[in-house]
């Protein structure tokens, strides 16, 4: 795989590449995380070269899943002129799922990503994220577990963006002296033609990455086991989802939850006075808001196949329910049973859109 090194920090390396693409009119615009107004961050679309200095693509904060944002941009039709999109591996996987679900189009998009060191929970932004950056980058380099990151990042094995066109090597790499860039695809090579006279040979595989993957896997297994969902029963479910306030923020933030009219927000799922009366007759007491366990179980049946484990749901939960950890665990089992890996291959069909003549014979009779 072609590679080259830019003697700059990861963010500046991305800027160099994007500037090259913009200057040479290889792309019309840039999609990336930027610093906007008073040190706030947001995903942005940029066409002005001058504003490129604002982008902070590797800043460890995910305020929205970029997959979902790109889906908004390309839902009706593909973008007309090429856009360079800088996003994290889980965001790219989410986008691939959305393409399969006909919620996004990939034409004219060039993907720049990096071996990801994870992000902080959003609330860290007001709790002094800036002071933790030095330690963050130290941990990215060594691949050590960093307690303050999102739980979903700490247990993520898929931190290598397999489907990106251009990949920066961050996790497990020392970026103090410069940042290595890999050109993964033909498409990426086409866009970067002329950026260098000569390229080096590079590889995505390394024992360092394997070690990081191994450690994260171990952590994941432990985290999943510690959840003890197997002992839940309905009591356990009520315990954990009992503090849900039914705000549906997890579904709003979730890239896999794409329905424009959610069943759980439809008139169908509204409880009218007669429902309350019937329930009260049976139970003598009901909790309000109703349907919290129902909502989460229902959402699991809808997103279990597509969940890429980005962790947005846990991050936006106002009552600190470990939504992402629970959903990731259940999804992992579902995806295993259906032999499906979300976001990996565009050709691989979403499980609910296909079937085998003979399968799952243990559930039917």
């Amino acid at each position: 795989m072609k590679s080259f090194k830019i003697p700059k920090s990861p963010d500046d390396t991305v800027k160099d590449i994007l500037l090259f693409l913009l200057k040479n009119e290889k792309v019309g615009s840039i999609f990336a995380l930027s610093k906007v107004h008073n040190n706030n961050h947001a995903y942005t679309l940029i066409t002005d070269k001058e504003l490129l200095s604002n982008i902070t693509p590797t800043y460890p904060l995910m305020l929205a899943n970029a997959g979902k944002m790109i889906s908004r941009l390309t839902m009706i039709e593909a973008v007309k002129s090429p856009v360079a999109v800088v996003l994290r591996p889980c965001e790219l996987r989410a986008l691939f799922e959305l393409v399969k679900l006909e919620q996004a189009k990939l034409d004219n998009l060039l993907f720049v990503s990096f071996t990801c060191g994870g992000v902080f929970p959003i609330k860290t932004k007001k709790d002094g994220l800036e002071n933790k950056l030095k330690e963050y980058w130290e941990n990215v380099k060594t691949g050590e577990d960093f307690q303050e990151l999102r739980e979903s990042c700490r247990i993520c094995e898929n931190f290598v963006p397999d489907n990106a066109d251009i990949i920066l090597q961050l996790a497990g790499n020392d970026t103090n002296t410069g940042t290595s860039v890999l050109i993964k695809t033909e498409k990426g090579a086409g866009f970067l033609e002329g950026i260098r006279d000569q390229f080096d040979e590079g590889s995505l595989e390394s024992t360092t990455l394997d070690t990081i993957r191994g450690k994260r896997k171990e952590r994941k297994q432990k985290t999943f086991a510690d959840l003890k969902t197997e002992d839940f029963g309905i009591e356990g479910l009520i315990n954990i989802f009992g503090r849900c306030i039914n705000c549906h923020a997890c579904s709003k933030a979730c890239p896999a939850c794409y329905c424009k009219l959610c069943y759980f927000e439809s008139a169908d799922s509204e409880s009218d006075p007669s429902t309350f009366e019937i329930e009260l007759k049976k139970r003598k007491a009901i909790r309000l808001p109703a349907d919290t366990v129902f909502y989460h179980l229902g959402r699991l049946t809808h997103v279990g196949f597509t969940c890429v484990g980005c962790g947005m749901c846990s991050d936006v939960c106002p009552t600190n329910i470990p939504v992402s950890t629970i959903f990731s665990k259940v999804s992992e089992r579902i995806q295993k049973a259906f032999e499906y890996t979300p976001g990996k291959d565009l050709e691989e069909k979403v499980p609910m859109s296909i079937f085998e003549m003979k399968e799952f014979e243990d559930v039917e009779d």
Binding site: F232, R283, T301, G304, F338
Partner: protein
């Protein structure tokens, strides 16, 4: 308690097969448990796992989904999707230690009145053995 327990079973029946089979069972004077409340659907694949979970959380003791035999779906392939959805539901229930045993997916064709009677009787007996859904009368559920 177990002796006078009369289960409440919800049956989602496909219009083109199992629902007709229920009719046939009736006109053939075959016994069908009175504890079965049927809901007619145009295809078993109309049943979203969400409906099954909803019935379960509201206290149904058992949920039966009945459709055409694989290959015989009125809409060609609907029941294959039903099976996938049901398998998905099973996985979720297992992970949370909820009873997937309270749910059953059966293929019953329009001519199988006898099978309809047998399946429903067998399922009702099974549910009677399992006892009432613990969520039934519990306060502060859902």
């Amino acid at each position: 308690m177990a002796n006078n327990f009369k289960p409440n079973i919800i049956g989602f029946l496909c219009n083109w097969c199992s629902y007709a089979a229920a009719d046939l069972a009736g006109s053939s004077k075959l016994e069908v448990p009175a504890t079965l409340t049927t809901i007619r659907v145009m295809c078993s694949s109309r049943v979203d796992p969400v409906h099954i979970i909803s019935a379960y959380l509201q206290g149904a003791d058992g949920v039966l989904i009945a459709g055409c035999h694989p290959g015989d779906c009125h809409y060609q392939t609907g029941n294959y999707y039903t099976r996938r959805r049901f398998a998905l539901l099973h996985k979720i229930m297992e992970t949370f230690k909820l009873d997937p045993e309270r749910f059953r997916l059966s293929w019953i064709s329009a001519s199988e009145g006898k099978r309809f009677s047998e399946v429903t009787k067998e399922f009702a007996e099974h549910i009677e053995k399992l006892g009432p859904n613990p969520l039934k009368n519990k306060p502060f559920i859902e």
